[in-house]
């Protein structure tokens, strides 16, 4: 149980980091491609990054 909670907490931490990065860029830097694309591309980075733990 403790390990699952630890695992979940780390994944949540990654999500919070990604969303914070997207919010920071989308909110303050006014990206030329628009705020939504920044959010979705950061989400893609999150999903791809989190999915690669088993690769060599």
């Amino acid at each position: 149980m403790a390990r699952s909670a630890h695992f979940g907490a780390l994944l949540v931490l990654a999500g919070v980091f990604g969303l914070a990065a997207a919010a920071l860029v989308g909110g303050t830097a006014a990206p030329p491609v628009g705020t939504l694309p920044v959010f979705v591309l950061v989400s893609l980075s999150l999903v791809v990054g989190l999915s690669t733990a088993a690769s060599p």
């Binding site: 994944l11 990654a14 990065a21 939504l36 060599p56």
Partner: protein, 194 residues
């Protein structure tokens, strides 16, 4: 990665080693974002707003292509590299610098084997977004997420059976690949309609 990094963190302080690995991932992601973000300044100056049009066309098209490959709909050879992070780094560079180097190399995303074709869109989007801050956000998130995934996997291993943990994750590679492919499709749609 888990099979390689897991045993490494048994030497010295485990939490320090994992933190160093995450720092390496953040540094690697930020480095590639900085390089791509700076590299695009010249085309941004030359093309102006046309670069945004290129982004809206090329990135969703690339996502559609890579998603089709990851979902198994398109049977084409995968774009990937043979190179993997050298396992000798902790010996040649020192324990913690080696672990940092592992995180850095993997966080770069483009210097080692490409596990999912949709991964290729991460540096492509960072290059075409035409904005340094956006490029940094995209690639640093990738580097951080990849390192944190390793930490989560290492932390969830009971005892030190990292080989079994690696096998267990490998058995889920196909569902993970589909998840990445589906995410890429949704993101392509969202970029087109935004």
């Amino acid at each position: 990665m888990v099979g390689q990094i897991g045993p490494l963190v048994q030497v010295g302080r485990k939490k320090t080693a994992l933190a160093v690995h995450v720092l390496g991932g953040i540094a690697g992601g930020a480095t590639i974002g900085l390089l791509l973000g700076v590299a695009v300044l010249l085309p941004r100056a030359a093309l102006g707003d046309t670069l945004d049009t290129i982004f809206v066309v090329v990135v969703p098209a690339a996502l559609l292509y890579t998603a089709s490959v990851d979902l198994g709909l398109l049977k084409v050879p995968h774009v990937t590299w043979v190179r993997q992070t050298p396992g000798s780094w902790p010996c040649s560079m020192g324990h913690y610098p080696g672990i940092f180097g592992w995180g850095f190399d993997l966080g770069l995303g483009v210097t080692t084997r490409i596990p999912y074709q949709s991964t290729l869109v991460v540096p492509l989007a960072a290059l075409l977004c035409g904005d340094l801050a956006t490029a940094l956000a995209i690639t640093t998130t990738y580097g951080t997420a990849r390192a944190l995934a390793v930490v989560a996997a290492v932390e969830s291993v009971p005892g030190d059976d990292y080989g079994a943990a690696c096998d267990a994750i490998q058995e889920r590679v196909v569902p993970l690949k589909r998840l990445v492919g589906m995410t890429a499709l949704v993101i392509a749609t969202l970029i087109v309609i935004s």
